[in-house]
């Protein structure tokens, strides 16, 4: 602690640490269980969260190739390069492949580390800079993006914790 970047970095580490705890010990069946026919399951949500971090940091802000593609995760997880999760139908969520969550988390570790490194490299003036988010077709401010990543990823974490609670009860 000790720099102006700390609230954001601390929040990112907090939600990510809690995510790891929240998925611990879940069976493949629990990971794929949906509380309603149109609800996401935990495995899909974790994968989508990793994709969100990767895309915002590496593609939208830094303008590089996503780790998803650059590091061969599409092959390792057997998914297409453009698969991201936003706007998917309930059928697509239901038919999500039962991939090993350890592999998804390995990808997520890399994406999470890349965001932290990106923040360390940002200067104060960068926060005012706009970047074009291609998949959303809009220009967004880097400062807004940082707050948004924290809010979006934490929302998904809250959903995972809630779905675990539905399955395992209060202390499960």
């Amino acid at each position: 602690m000790g720099t102006f970047r700390d609230p954001i970095k601390s929040g990112l580490n907090e939600y990510y640490g809690k995510l790891k705890q929240t998925v611990e010990g879940l069976t493949p069946e629990e990971l794929l269980w949906q509380p309603g026919p149109e609800s996401n399951h935990i495995l899909w949500t974790v994968w989508h969260m990793a994709r969100v971090s990767d895309r915002w940091a590496n593609s939208t802000v830094l303008g590089n190739e996503e780790l998803w593609i650059r590091d061969g995760w599409t092959k390792r997880l057997g998914m297409s390069a453009d698969k991201y999760g936003r706007g998917e139908t309930p059928e697509q969520v239901r038919d999500f492949p039962s991939v090993d969550i350890a592999l998804v988390l390995e990808y997520y570790d890399a994406a999470h580390a890349s965001i932290l490194a990106m923040i360390d490299a940002l200067e104060r003036a960068d926060l005012d800079r706009d970047v074009f988010a291609e998949y959303r077709q809009e220009s967004l401010n880097i400062g807004w993006i940082l707050g948004h990543i924290l809010a979006e990823e934490s929302q998904h974490l809250g959903q995972i914790a809630y779905i675990r609670g539905l399955q395992r009860g209060f202390n499960g």
């Binding site: 700390d6 880097i142 807004w144 974490l157 959903q159």
Partner: protein, 170 residues
Amino acid sequence: MSSFKDAVKSGMTEYLEELKEKLEGLSETELHWQATLDTNTLIWLVWHMARVEDNWINKTIAGGETIWSSGDWARKTGIGADGSGSSQKMDEVRAFPQVNMRILISYYDEVRCSAFDVIDAMSESDGNNEIDRGRGPITWNWILGHVVVEESQHLGQVALIRGMIRGLDG
């Protein structure tokens, strides 16, 4: 946006705006629905979110009174509980009173207004100020990040519960 605390404020604005959208049009019955005996209701979550932000920023960081107590919101909302809900038992969640959501949101808006004043008044070095609530020292910077993470988690739950009740487009 010229500082990272603006990024925090932007995240806070985002989750409160989205919360209001997610609550739109829900009936009393839906607001009090429990998915299982161990899960929180929507109305309880909204109250808890407002209390959490009030406690962390207006009381813990600013060192003053919460808006809940200075604004006499226990009386205005009819909620008798002292705390913020953090360690409540499930029977307390179930016994949560019928509350007017608009009044609850007015309380949240006042909390937010005050919280932004507190954050605006923080200098960069203030972020390193430490407090100890009995579980080891935490900094004000930690609290700012934590507020966005905790509140957004609850918003995610609100959205999920709405989806369970209404489906994807409901």
